[in-house]
């Protein structure tokens, strides 16, 4: 995609408040992600993963999500989406620290958030395993005649999995209210898009399943909002599924365990950084009079304060107890020999 140079933009009916909220989600996303890496480098947590470069697509998509109505079945690089639909910084940090008060009671790996209240599904780390679940949830909605939809996401690499294909096919056959948002950041750990598929335009696969496919600039939060909103609106009103491909980029290594210098050049990353969506959107809002530079600074400070406060609070919370290992295996107490 050609980088956008001007900052003129189509609002798609978003109010100033909503635009500021988009930026806040993006800044919170980046700050919390950075905090995960910092805590890992301090030896306080064993692992963190990163989504820098996904802020715009996730903030935009989250704004199209109807809280209390829709279901989100994310993947593990969706911190911004999770924040955008209502997960708090404190909840994020409880998860990073593996504390007892975490939604999974410290069981899940970081960035595998879940919240029944928010409609946020529990996922595993296994690539594409969440997609059939999204399709199943959408089937349930359709069966009950509800005006709801499922937003499910994946990276570009996940599209290679058999389960991705099976999910797309089934959703199309039954015209299910599900939107598959593919966050194409061009890298599956070290595997570039060219080794992941011979057809780099993932949205083009939609036709093969008999559903619409849409391409959107994943560095533009408002465009992402509009594309996902259109697809979700159609899905909720019986129009069937859609595949939305947002082209973005993964600026950081895959996780704290990865060193991306082994497989891609610094020049490539620096070049792509020029379209870093966070400063780009800040500039857009300032130049279009939605916020002043001071407003942006204040917002960033406020996010950092919240993150720091959440870090200290979460770190002070207790770990789960050893005996918590044995709960919730089945609905009741259980031994394999009875």
């Amino acid at each position: 995609m050609v980088p956008k140079v001007d900052t003129s933009f189509e609002r798609h009916d978003l109010t100033d408040e909503q635009l500021v909220a988009l930026l806040r989600t993006m800044v919170a996303h980046r700050t919390l992600e950075s905090r995960g890496f910092q805590l890992n480098r301090q030896g306080k947590i064993p692992f963190a993963s990163a989504g820098e470069g996904h802020e715009a697509v996730q903030a935009g998509a989250a704004m199209a999500f109807r809280r209390g109505v829709d279901v989100l079945v994310p993947y593990y690089r969706d911190l911004g989406l999770d924040i955008g639909i209502g997960v708090t910084a404190y909840e994020i940090l409880l998860s990073l620290f593996g504390r007892a008060a975490d939604h999974s009671a410290g069981r899940q790996f970081p960035h595998h958030y879940a919240s029944r209240k928010l409609g946020l599904y529990s996922i595993s780390s296994v690539i594409a395993a969440q997609l059939p679940h999204a399709v199943g949830a959408a089937y349930a909605m359709k069966l009950r005649g509800e005006e709801r939809a499922v937003l499910t996401t994946c990276g570009d690499g996940a599209t290679s999995e058999g389960e991705w294909h099976e999910s797309m096919n089934f959703a199309a056959i039954h015209r299910l209210p599900v939107v598959v948002l593919c966050e194409n950041n061009e890298w599956a750990i070290s595997t570039p898009l060219s080794k992941q598929m011979a057809q780099p335009d993932i949205y083009k696969r939609a036709e093969g399943y008999g559903m619409p496919g849409v391409l959107v600039d994943g560095m533009d939060p408002v465009a992402c909002y509009a594309a996902v909103k259109t697809a979700l609106d159609r899905a909720r009103s019986g129009g069937g599924p859609a595949l939305v491909e947002a082209k973005c980029y993964r600026f950081l290594a895959h996780t704290t365990d990865d060193d991306d210098r082994t497989y891609r050049s610094r020049d490539e990353v620096a070049e792509r950084r020029k379209r870093d969506p966070v400063p780009l959107f800040e500039r857009t809002l300032i130049e279009n009079g939605v916020m002043t530079a001071d407003d942006v600074e204040a917002l960033k400070r406020s996010v950092l304060d919240e993150t720091n406060e959440a870090t200290d609070r979460a770190e002070a919370m207790p770990y789960p107890k050893p005996e918590d290992l044995y709960t919730n295996v089945y609905s009741a107490n259980f031994q394999p020999w009875q």
């Binding site: 905090r35 910092q38 890992n40 480098r41 301090q42 030896g43 306080k44 064993p46 692992f47 620290f97 504390r99 007892a100 290594a253 704290t256 365990d257 990865d258 060193d259 210098r261 870090t311 200290d312 770190e315 002070a316 919370m317 207790p318 770990y319 789960p320 107890k321 005996e323 918590d324 290992l325 044995y326 709960t327 009741a332 107490n333 031994q335 394999p336």
Partner: protein, 430 residues
């Protein structure tokens, strides 16, 4: 407040890290979350952010140096707010009480079969190995004092009992009746069953020990064809030696110095010269024992016991005296353990204490022979130069398993024993 920074674990399989570059020097100030050192590992390179705001006080690892994760690498003097408290141990019960798990039994190696039973059933539970060994060695498990958990009879217990022959089993039966192991399957009350007070016209019931002695004696006599031989030994010099040393010995060690250790010393030396005598018959061949463990038959008011001096060939006369003394002491106090009673390879029977001057002992099953010390009697003796002298004379009788050795070896052994004893004393080092 000073904060020590340790080498973080960068990567889930990483065990060490190299300080690539210090981004801050000693004395530099550093903000919380500000990077202050770059670390490289074989998985990733990373800048490590400070956990506190403060000043670098000390740098403990040089650039280029590799240390294990967790090793202190720097000390930072903290300014301002204290670091967030470490997570407290997870004590507070969760609001919703979790269903009580039963992890120990499914997770751990917690004992299963036996611990489910009562202590008594546990005591009686003989493992398959114990049952097999007991069958093979004709040992009644119920008579053995167990050394395992809750007094369980272990396979080793059976083997020990088997290797000791009848008297050992008896010893164990006795031990099992002592108050120290009240839950053992004890022999029935036998106030009337000792040698001491038989009532004429009644049957003295067999206690367990008596029964085992009976069984094992019959077994030995029936399986091992016994042959017998005797020599007369001049023990005058040994006698003198012993007489001279005995008071001091008792004072120093608390044990009496009898003729027994001198005799055992000569026996083990003769066994070394005639190793077949330290063997045993097996269907595959004569097994020649490596160790020389000498059983010493001790008569008690009720029963005979045969505690064993392990590795007797490695003990001096003094060492043998102490070992024998301790065993005799234990036997009289009913304190013999399985270790004391197991593993004998040859037996010495001190019959002479009661005045016997000749006897025909029964071999402990699983051994090649048993040799006796009969009473020491002063006798006129015609010496080599045809002079007549009064000497301390003692007969020594040998029963041997004719399957293992013949008279040639046996009489060689007895002659050797005689020669060794006659050469001992009248003085020397114990």
């Amino acid at each position: 407040m000073a904060t020590t920074i340790t080498m973080p674990q960068l990567g889930e399989t990483v065990t060490e890290g190299t300080v690539a570059q210090w981004l801050k020097k000693v004395g530099d100030s550093v903000d919380k979350y500000e990077a202050f050192v770059e670390v490289s590992t074989d998985k990733v390179n990373a800048e490590v952010p400070s956990p506190v705001t403060g000043t670098i006080r000390e740098v403990l690892v040089k650039e280029g140096e590799t240390v294990a994760t967790g090793t202190p690498i720097a000390v930072i003097d903290e300014v301002g707010a204290a670091a967030p408290p470490a997570p407290p141990p997870a004590e507070a019960p969760k609001a919703a009480a979790a269903p009580a798990p039963a992890p120990a039994s499914s997770n751990g190696a917690g004992s299963s079969a036996v611990s489910n039973g009562t202590p008594d059933s546990a005591l009686r539970a003989a493992s398959p190995a114990v049952r097999r060994l007991a069958r093979e060695h004709h040992v009644d498990v119920r008579t053995i004092k167990g050394t395992g958990t809750n007094g369980r009879v272990t396979a080793d217990d059976v083997l020990a009992a088997a290797s000791m022959g009848p008297s050992a089993a008896v010893g164990q039966a006795i031990a099992s009746a002592t108050p120290a192991a009240p839950r053992t399957a004890a022999p029935p009350p036998s106030g009337t069953s000792t040698y001491g007070e038989p009532i004429p016209g009644t049957v003295v019931p067999l206690n367990q020990a008596r029964r085992i002695i009976a069984e094992r004696m019959v077994e030995s006599k029936h399986t091992a064809p016994h042959a017998w031989s005797m020599v007369e030994i001049d023990v005058s010099n040994v006698w003198k030696w012993r007489t001279r040393e005995k008071d001091r010995f008792e004072r120093e060690t608390g044990h009496k110095l009898t003729l027994l250790p001198f005799f055992i010393r000569a026996v083990v030396e003769s066994l070394a010269a005639f190793p077949l005598m330290n063997g045993k018959f097996t269907p595959e061949g004569i097994y020649v024992n490596k160790d020389v463990n000498v059983g010493v038959a001790i008569g008690l008011p009720t029963n005979l016991v045969v505690p064993v001096i392990k590795n007797a060939d490695q003990l001096s006369i003094k060492g043998l005296a102490i070992a024998a003394g301790e065993l005799i002491d234990k036997a009289r106090r009913n304190k013999l353990g399985v270790d004391d009673l197991s593993g004998g390879t040859f037996t010495v029977n001190n019959n002479g204490a009661n005045g016997s001057w000749a006897s025909a002992p029964i071999i402990n099953a699983g051994q090649a022979g048993i040799v006796t010390m009969e009473a020491v009697i002063k006798k006129p003796v015609v010496r080599d130069d045809d002079s007549i002298a009064i000497r301390h004379m003692m007969n020594s009788c040998l029963s041997l398993d004719h399957r293992v050795v013949d008279g040639y070896v046996a009489s060689g052994f007895l002659a050797d024993l005689k020669k060794r004893l006659e050469r001992m004393g009248p003085e020397g080092s114990l």
